[in-house]
């Protein structure tokens, strides 16, 4: 039975501590949450992502106050009411649109950082998998949000992506209609994607973010050299005042001070985009209202989906779908496809180094080809990039199996 001091003043430190254990909470979550010292700015991407998610949440709340989820009014509620009538409505919309795009840039940087430094291995598998789940839910969140302005791109993206669920020759048209609640994207479709975007997906994302943080707790954050050390012993050194010798730093305030500095630079970049360069995140085609009788001359997903879209395109319908599905799940399997015990940066891992840079270049190539119209020579390049992507993943277990142990630590 807990002890409660009857004389403690309500809401005093002692009073709160007895009820909420605030001292323990503060210690566990911040001042004695240990982070390796041997890191660079790429380790701040988690905080940058959290901050961007915060921007999306706040701007989204204000957009939600005026957005009307009906096929008749959605377009004008966004482009007229929010953009010209609501005080600072334009600011929220630009923040929301730009953040939705930039968040994927940071996710990709975060992912490739993890791949480069081997941060998905040896006890860190769940960090990687929960992160990939966040990638998938963010993708669903981005897609459902893209439906809401109900412009031409919303409508036709909704049409094309939901049609993927007919699963080629299986012709599951019933499933497609079930997803849409209609034969074509219409009011039912808009209403349910609105619900997904503002309620269900955010709830899942918040839950997954908590899980993602939780997965870090036991294996701890990786460091630049993949070095494994005793966090408790290092923490003791820090607490004893040997700050220079200790290999760890507390999350608050030491790690945080670097994060906040990186955040400052990031926000300058972010708000530069919001005020002066937002067009990239708001496709001109989506400023034409949805028209179910006219497909725009060029339709393409937002840039962050292009690489997997391009894997779909070079093949026949069924084969394309198979490889598209492959691209969606293969990253989840990375911790198990990498057969090497080495936890080290890619540049020390022989052929894996080449594999890493090839994968990065290949995905940039897929992304660029994914937006271009499917005509030669672009579709030829796209095909090469798609085959390369598949080959790289098939090669990975063999490359890593042959890998020599990295000496030293």
């Amino acid at each position: 039975m807990a002890h409660f001091d009857p004389n403690a003043r309500p809401f005093s430190h002692k009073w709160l501590n007895e009820r909420l254990a605030i001292d323990t909470l503060k210690r566990v979550l911040s001042t004695e949450y240990w982070i390796p010292k041997n890191i660079n700015f790429l380790w701040a991407m988690g905080m940058v992502l959290a901050a961007t998610f915060g921007m999306l949440l706040i701007s989204g709340i204000f957009l939600l106050m005026y957005y009307v989820p009906t096929t008749k009014e959605a377009f004008d509620s966004v482009n007229y009411t929010i953009m010209s009538q609501v005080g600072y409505g334009w600011l929220w919309r630009h923040i929301h649109g730009v953040a939705a795009s930039v968040v994927f840039l940071i996710i990709y940087i975060h992912m490739f950082t993890g791949i480069y430094y081997g941060s998905y291995k040896r006890g860190r598998e769940m960090i990687w998998i929960s992160g990939m789940l966040l990638f998938v839910t963010f993708s669903a969140e981005a897609f459902s949000g893209y439906m809401l302005p109900w412009g031409q791109m919303s409508y036709w993206a909704g049409m094309v992506i939901t049609n993927l669920f007919s699963l080629g020759s299986l012709h599951l048209n019933g499933l497609v209609e079930w997803i849409r609640g209609d034969y074509v994207p219409g009011q039912a479709f808009l209403s349910r994607f609105f619900m997904l975007h503002v309620l269900l997906m955010p709830l899942i994302i918040i839950g997954l973010i908590v899980l993602h943080f939780g997965t870090l707790r036991i294996p701890h954050v990786n460091n630049k050299d993949g070095e494994e050390f005793d966090f408790e012993a290092e923490a003791e050194k820090w607490k004893a005042g040997h700050r220079k010798e200790s290999k760890v730093i507390p999350f608050n305030p030491v790690f945080l001070s670097k994060d906040v500095f990186v955040l400052g630079i990031y926000f300058m970049f972010f708000f530069y985009l919001v005020f002066y360069h937002f067009e990239f995140a708001m496709d001109p085609v989506n400023f034409d209202p949805a028209n179910g009788l006219k497909t725009p001359p060029h339709i393409y997903p937002e840039w962050y989906f292009l690489w997997s879209y391009e894997i779909l395109r070079p093949f026949s319908k069924n084969v394309g779908l198979i490889w598209f599905g492959f691209a969606q799940v293969i990253f989840f399997l990375l911790p198990f496809l990498d057969r090497s015990p080495n936890v080290a940066p890619a540049n020390r891992r022989g052929i894996f180094k080449i594999w890493f840079w090839l994968l990065l270049i290949d995905m940039v190539g897929l992304t660029i080809m994914g937006k271009l119209p499917p005509v030669d020579p672009w579709s030829k390049f796209g095909t090469v990039f798609a085959y390369t992507f598949i080959a790289l993943w098939f090669a990975l277990p063999f490359i890593t199996k042959m890998e020599k142990p990295v000496g030293g630590k």
Binding site: W90, L263, I265, V285, F287, W303, I368
Partner: protein
């Protein structure tokens, strides 16, 4: 410094990707159309000099169909009746002299369909008699036109009979009236009546043009300025076979029209430009302070 090298790699791949999906992709997707600065060089400059007085005397040839409000000449028909008769409402000529190219106007009055590069034109050719008569009327229209049009007047004159702009409360038959609903029923009969007239007009217009010309409220976001400029200069250059006629607007006239389109399409621009420097300035100082905090926290750690 090592971190700056890492940053350079990140920035490099980000910029390559950006270049690929934005400037490069758009240059592949959209064909480039060279603008000609509204020179209308396919039309020969008229060598006859127009006389406004003679033009005024001959204007009844025009006012059989067109109104000239600024001169107290009412249009002979209301827009809906006119659309029933001609397919489209003949424009009021009060401001025509201010935004149309004079050379174009003279050529237009002699052969409207040819000058407008349109397959169909309700206005018959040679209404103004010969080149001299056309030049006289053009000179007269120029003499009565106001020196400076507002952006909205320019839009209404050049585009407003075929294109609505619902964010600017403009319909093809005029501004949406300010009406009041019945207190007991909530019905607003006057507004419903107006909407019916707009619908009737639009149906006729769609028959005449082949489709309903799009609302232009946020066309400035959906198409680039270069596109709109070259499209208005010669619609066929972008959309071969489009029913949209060449309207023969001058460069200054186009800038006016564009100013209006931007005011309805991107109304937050002035506020954005005012707020932007403050926010960026805030984060600049924020970053400096954060750097100071970071340095003080990491002092003696390495």
């Amino acid at each position: 410094m090592k971190e700056l090298k890492v940053l350079a790699v990140v920035v490099f791949f980000t910029l390559v990707t950006y270049w690929g999906v934005e400037p490069f992709a758009h240059s592949v997707m959209h064909k480039h159309v060279e603008g000609h600065n509204f020179a209308y060089s396919d039309i020969n400059a008229s060598n006859v000099k127009g006389d406004p007085a003679k033009g005024k005397a001959a204007i009844s040839a025009c006012t059989a169909c067109h109104g000239i409000k600024s001169q107290g000449i009412k249009a002979p028909m209301d827009p809906v009746t006119a659309a029933n008769t001609y397919g489209v409402n003949p424009p009021d000529l009060s401001n025509a002299g201010a935004i149309y190219d004079e050379k174009f106007l003279i050529a237009f009055m002699q052969d409207p369909a040819h000058a407008a590069i349109a397959k169909k034109m309700a206005m018959p050719p040679i209404m103004a008699g010969n080149a001299q008569g056309a030049a006289d009327i053009a000179a007269y229209l120029k003499s009565i036109a106001p020196k400076e049009l507002t952006p909205k007047e320019a839009f209404v004159t050049a585009c407003g009979r075929c294109h609505a702009n619902r964010y600017g409360k403009w319909t093809q038959i005029g501004d949406v009236p300010k009406t009041k609903g019945n207190i007991k029923t909530g019905n607003d009969v006057a507004l419903e009546q107006f909407k019916i007239n707009v619908a009737k007009y639009q149906d006729k217009l769609a028959d005449y043009m082949g489709k309903l010309p799009p609302d232009l409220s946020i066309i400035s976001r959906a198409r680039s300025k270069e596109y709109l400029e070259t499209f208005v200069e010669n619609p066929q250059s972008h959309l071969k076979g489009t029913a949209m006629p060449r309207v023969g607007i001058t460069k200054e006239g186009f800038e006016k029209v564009y100013a209006y389109l931007e005011s309805t399409g991107d109304p937050s621009k002035p506020k954005r430009e005012k707020t932007g420097p403050w926010v960026l300035g805030f984060f600049l100082i924020f970053t400096f302070l954060a750097y100071g905090w970071y340095k003080s926290q990491w002092k003696g750690l390495k």
